[in-house]
């Protein structure tokens, strides 16, 4: 067993998840089973292989527009007001679980 209950509790904390006792036990079982399967990647020698985050730096690049910088294909002129206008306050707050019409409201953050 690679992953213990303690690990699961630690990772759940990092991910802001609160797992029940039952969920925690299931998670220990599932993560171990998946990680054991994933371990087959260690059969491959990747010491001289560059990691790949995504493909769009290599493909989909118009050569005539390509600069020297990475992702320069995606650059554009700065537009002060943004690509689209900001949402009106009313719309931005419309889905908020709690608001005072001006701000999003959350439980008290600082105890005093």
């Amino acid at each position: 067993m690679k992953v213990t209950e303690k690990d699961v509790a630690y990772v759940a904390g990092l991910a802001n998840l609160e797992l029940t006792q039952e969920e925690q036990a299931g998670m220990v079982r599932d993560l171990n089973s998946i990680l054991q399967y994933v371990d087959r990647l260690n059969e491959l020698d990747t010491s001289n292989v560059a990691p790949m985050a995504q493909v769009s730096g290599r493909y989909g690049v118009d050569g005539s527009k390509q600069g020297t910088e990475r992702f320069s294909y995606a650059s554009r002129e700065d537009i002060p007001e943004g690509l689209r206008k900001s949402l009106p306050r009313e719309e931005a707050l419309a889905n908020a679980p709690d608001s005072d019409g001006m701000f999003f409201k959350v439980p008290k953050v600082i105890e005093r």
Binding site: I34, T46, S56, Y59, G60, L83, P97
Partner: protein, 477 residues
């Protein structure tokens, strides 16, 4: 005239020629949904007001004798991971059960600008995480061909809607196979374009380097029409490619004679169902008779695709799903007294088991001490998987494989074994990881009358070739 079994061109022409109206077409599909969807569960939310308004606009165009755009009056379904202004968008999750987006996804805006009538939002696995549609927080989708079986996932709703004539076409999303696998299970066409071909703006993020939007359709031509409409650079998505979009429809009838099609033994090994193998081998024979040259190729890293995928996708998901914090728009647990408790309780009550499992796996793979061993390792193997395809595509124009190792399985069959469920994507995840396009086209049925899909994979930004091959195959059927 049966209004619910039309292709895009047929639907547009009957509206254009005023043999029926866009309104009647929409109503016929709503009637079909009313009749069938209680059992199937393909739709989560219907957008009648928006649909009828658009239908009316199209009917006025037709009445004035104006030429209708490519999708004029065509009823479509939208997977509920694409945001729609004013229409509830849930991602199949309780955490977004009441979310009304303030803007439209670019792909949705583009098909509406081309005249499509958006009937509603189609069911899916929660945050597109699943291969059976059993992970929807609202209800599972059932396969219209056999209600005891799954429609595949995560675009199970869109696939079932098209298969059951509840929509002419639908937009789905594919991160590990979520368009192609359900298309295969439901007997429809499913196309995943090249990464960057279609803007992801307004697609609720699962794994940003792997997410793609694409069509599910009754014919290859319909898929080509939708792709032509939604493809192309969008300033709102910096990963959308600034490349010209070919006229996929005009290129459909180009001859396939002389095209080289690769067959990789890695896609015909252990775990492949015999009936699926036979159907796909027969399909390859047919392509040969159509004049394609069949060339053996090797994709040696294929057995490492699933583990790579489940590290990369979950790592990205754990980051993307951090935004659901109960502050700005997602579910907030009642009765919480501190900020930390609010985050944790809201996420715990709002997310389903599979989503939590993937957030946990992804967070673990990114956490201090494990990053190099898991996430970085997977990114390196991802490079090897891409190289496999680059090498193969120096020899062939496209690669043909089964879409999924089996036909549709039964509800509940794999739902308690996450690993078994993940293996349903064994032939589809490689294309997502490499960013290449893929299409699934029906290629027969099992003895139990369950559909089987043939997958055709192509070079980056060469959707035209895989559409040609799929079209030639479909026409010869």
């Amino acid at each position: 005239m049966d209004l619910t079994s039309l292709t895009i061109d047929a639907a547009r022409s009957v509206v254009q020629e005023r043999r029926t109206s866009a309104l009647a077409l929409a109503e016929a599909h709503y009637a079909r949904i009313q009749k069938e969807d209680g059992q199937v569960g393909a739709f989560l939310t219907l957008s009648k007001e928006r649909a009828l308004e658009q239908a009316d606009r199209i009917d006025r165009m037709a009445a004035e004798g104006k030429p209708l755009p490519a999708l004029g009056g065509v009823p479509v379904g939208i997977k509920d991971v694409m945001v729609t202004r004013g229409v509830r968008t849930t991602a199949g999750s309780k955490i977004l059960a009441n979310y009304i987006p303030p803007y439209d996804c670019t792909a949705v805006a583009r098909i509406e600008a081309a005249g499509a009538v958006v009937l509603g939002k189609a069911n899916c696995d929660e945050f597109a995480m699943g291969s059976s549609n059993e992970n929807s927080a609202f209800r599972p989708v059932r396969n219209p061909r056999d209600l005891t079986r799954v429609p595949g996932g995560s675009s199970g709703g869109p696939a079932a809607a098209v298969a059951a004539d509840m929509a002419v076409v639908a937009l789905g999303s594919d991160t590990g196979g979520s368009i192609r696998q359900p298309a295969s299970f439901c007997g429809v066409v499913g196309l995943m374009p090249t990464y960057g071909r279609v803007s992801r703006y307004g697609l609720i993020a699962f794994a940003s380097s792997l997410d793609h939007i694409g069509p599910l359709a009754k014919t290859v031509k319909d898929a080509a029409i939708v792709l032509r409409t939604i493809a192309g650079r969008d300033p709102m998505d910096s990963t959308s490619a600034d490349l010209p979009v070919p006229d996929y429809v005009a290129e459909l009838d180009k001859p396939v004679r002389g095209l080289k099609l690769g067959v990789a033994k890695e896609y015909f090994g252990e775990g492949l169902d015999d009936e699926v193998r036979q159907a796909v081998e027969a399909a390859i024979d047919k392509l040969k008779r159509l004049g394609c040259e069949i060339v053996p190729v090797s994709l040696p890293h294929t057995p490492y695709a699933i583990p790579t995928y489940y590290l990369v996708a979950t790592a990205e998901a754990s980051s993307n799903l951090a935004r659901y914090d109960g502050v700005r728009y997602s579910y907030r647990a009642p009765g919480v007294t501190s900020l930390a408790e609010m985050y944790r309780s809201s996420r715990d009550e709002g997310f389903g088991t599979e989503v939590k499992r993937r957030i946990m796996l992804g967070t673990y793979a990114l956490s201090a001490g494990y990053y190099d061993a898991y996430y970085l390792k997977a990114q390196k193997v991802r490079t090897l998987l891409l190289r496999d395809f680059e090498e193969a595509f120096t020899k062939v124009d496209a690669i043909v494989t089964p879409t999924s190792p089996t036909s549709a399985f039964r509800l509940g069959e794999k739902s308690n074994d996450p690993l078994a469920m993940y293996l349903a994507d064994v032939y589809t995840v490689t294309a997502d990881l490499a960013g290449i396009p893929g299409i699934s086209v029906p290629c027969g049925e099992t003895k139990e009358k369950l559909p089987i899909g043939l997958q055709i994979l192509g070079r980056h930004f060469d959707e035209a070739t895989i559409l040609q091959v799929a079209h030639a195959f479909e026409q010869a059927a």
